[in-house]
């Protein structure tokens, strides 16, 4: 390839994007780390350098552990469901059945709708005298405080996240299923293998990389959950549904404790960067041509 461009050309083309990324990604990234070493609790206008005080405060705060525990519950409940259920649905739809297009549209619909509307719709289902409690109480059980009972609130919110993610991951799986060689399924049919053995021996081994991909991206997005909690519970009751991002938001924008919020943000950064690193270098190499 001959060089038809000047020495400056590549840099000129890169400049606008580089400027945007610098101002809104790299500077804020270092600033987050920087802010976490300052104390804003006395005055927001005169922060005082406080070393690791915010981190010490954070590690001594029971709310921090509660928030971490909640985020962990989010991961261990939402991620397996989002890795397995959409795969099952994708396998069903992939059987060249009638109406596959319609099923795909309906199951994908929650992905497209604003999370705020989804959260409101669920808040309505979860209402004390709402339709879900009608279903629960009609066989004689006690009604559930879906969003008001500390034992339930977190799970009620997780259900919304799962419900909104299923279609998205199902489409990813459907794309992966197209690459499984048809001959293998034909061989299975000749051998008389049933549905379960067919998919355990052919499908799953073939799309293992996609399962790993879905696991990491659903883990990353579970770490970033915010709107569901903001709209439905505000982290309550008793912090029972508060996750990392909501806690950062609360400390930063409601309590104006910028230092503490930044220390939390650094924790979030470390966790998400670890997940993303695994994701990029193990599962998405091709996408980025590494």
């Amino acid at each position: 390839m001959f060089k038809y461009y000047g020495r400056c050309a590549p840099y000129l083309f890169l400049l606008p994007a580089a400027a945007a990324l610098l101002v809104f990604f790299f500077i804020p990234f270092f600033q987050t780390v920087g802010l976490s070493f300052f104390d804003y609790s006395e005055s927001i206008y005169h922060p005082v350098f406080s070393g690791f005080d915010n981190y010490v405060k954070m590690f001594q705060s029971p709310v921090f552990y509660k928030v971490l525990a909640n985020t962990f519950v989010y991961l261990i409940v939402a991620v397996p469901v989002l890795a397995i259920l959409p795969l099952f649905l994708a396998v069903l739809i992939n059987q060249k059945i009638r109406g596959a297009g319609l099923y795909k549209i309906l199951i994908y619909l929650p992905v497209i709708v604003s999370i705020v509307v989804a959260a409101i719709a669920f808040k309505w289902l979860y209402a004390d005298k709402g339709i879900l409690n009608y279903i629960v109480t009609s066989p004689g059980f006690n009604g559930i405080g879906w969003l008001t009972d500390p034992d339930w609130a977190l799970y009620s919110v997780i259900i919304v996240t799962i419900w909104k993610g299923i279609g998205y991951y199902m489409i990813i799986y459907l794309a992966a299923l197209m690459s499984v060689p048809k001959e293998l399924y034909e061989a299975c049919d000749i051998d008389g293998a049933n549905f379960l053995t067919k998919h355990l021996t052919v499908t799953i081994p073939h799309i293992m990389p996609t399962i790993a991909l879905v696991t990491t991206i659903s883990a990353i997005s579970a770490m970033k959950v915010f709107a569901e909690i903001y709209v439905m519970t505000k982290g309550g009751p008793l912090n029972s549904s508060k996750t990392i991002v909501y806690y950062i938001y609360e400390r930063a924008f409601e309590n104006l404790d910028l230092g503490f919020a930044s220390a939390m943000a650094v924790v979030l950064l470390l966790i998400v960067m670890a997940f993303s690193f695994v994701n990029i270098f193990f599962f998405e190499r091709k996408k980025y041509q590494l």
């Binding site: 461009y5 590549p10 619909l109 419900w163 709209v231 990029i280």
Partner: protein
């Protein structure tokens, strides 16, 4: 003669049996898929049902009525008068449109040298862009907000400044840059050579020869950036202070405060706010559900 007829009948029966078996195994599949489809849309259906119930009907009735007994459009009319949906819609259009436009321009500009030029620092640039994928916005939103304030890009200064603050932090994404880079990589080198021979300069090569060839990638980037930006809630709820600047998600969330527990109005407002994106989705569905653009939406 007789046996031929007999064979025909046997064949007919066999194919009928086969079809019956196929039907039975697919029946199970259909039952599950119908069930999941219903679960996927039921929260909306219930919202729509509530929004169509008049004051004479108890919306907390046991057993619940899916079909409104006191059917009315009054809740829509009521919420339409009290809430400026047109304004929210226009604000969302400006924010999402601006974000899409900037993403297309910046991603295409940056993707071009990364795909087709050799220069010092290319590797570092590449990994710097890759690194931004690993940085979640939620972790850096506080400094982003402080910077936006410092640059006076807030709605208390002017509406234009408000939109700038809404749009600029999402002006470019690593996803877009990589998508465009990949698209540019697929173009044969003869294209540029021919253009240079014809007397184009670098910028003309880019705009006249290469850009038209990556239109499909631009379309994908536009659609997915639009959806992401349209649904964005966290950032607008941080930067926006004036109600006249609210985007649809912020406006919808605000319904809860405005109508405290008037669920008929809240439901009607939520349904109204959802109509545009449903239309957009149905029109563009092949981009979303074909699976060709796997992983294009941010999770």
């Amino acid at each position: 003669m007789k046996s031929e007829k007999y064979n025909k009948r046997i064949n007919h029966c066999e194919s009928g049996l086969k079809r019956l078996f196929a039907f039975r195994s697919s029946l199970f599949t259909h039952i599950i898929l119908i069930f999941v489809s219903l679960l996927s849309i039921f929260p909306f259906i219930w919202l729509i049902s509530t929004s169509l119930k008049g004051n004479a009907e108890n919306i907390f009735a046991y057993p619940p009525h899916l079909i409104p007994a006191d059917f009315t459009w009054a809740n829509y009319a009521g919420v339409w008068v009290k809430v400026d949906f047109i304004r929210y819609f226009v604000n969302s259009m400006i924010a999402a449109g601006g974000t899409v436009l900037l993403n297309l321009i910046l991603s295409a500009l940056a993707g071009y040298p990364l795909a087709r030029m050799e220069f010092r620092g290319k590797k570092i640039t590449f990994f710097a862009v890759l690194a931004t994928i690993m940085i979640p916005f939620q972790a850096i939103m506080l400094p982003v907000y402080l910077i936006t304030l410092k640059l006076n890009m807030v709605d208390s200064v002017s509406n234009f400044a408000g939109f700038a603050g809404l749009i600029l932090p999402f002006a470019v994404s690593a996803f877009g840059i990589f998508l465009m880079r990949q698209a540019f990589l697929g173009i044969p080198h003869e294209m540029e050579e021919a253009a240079i021979v014809d007397g184009c300069n670098v910028f003309q090569v880019f705009t006249k020869v290469l850009l038209p060839m990556v239109k499909p990638a631009l379309a994908v980037l536009a659609i997915f950036t639009f959806i992401g930006s349209w649904g964005e809630f966290l950032w607008p709820s941080i930067v926006l202070t004036k109600e006249s600047m609210y985007t649809l998600p912020v406006g919808v969330n605000n319904l809860q405060g405005a109508f405290s527990s008037n669920w008929r109005f809240i439901a009607a407002g939520s349904v109204l706010a959802t109509i545009p994106i449903i239309i957009f989705f149905l029109a563009m569905q092949r981009y979303f559900i074909s699976g060709e653009n796997e992983g294009a939406v941010k999770g």
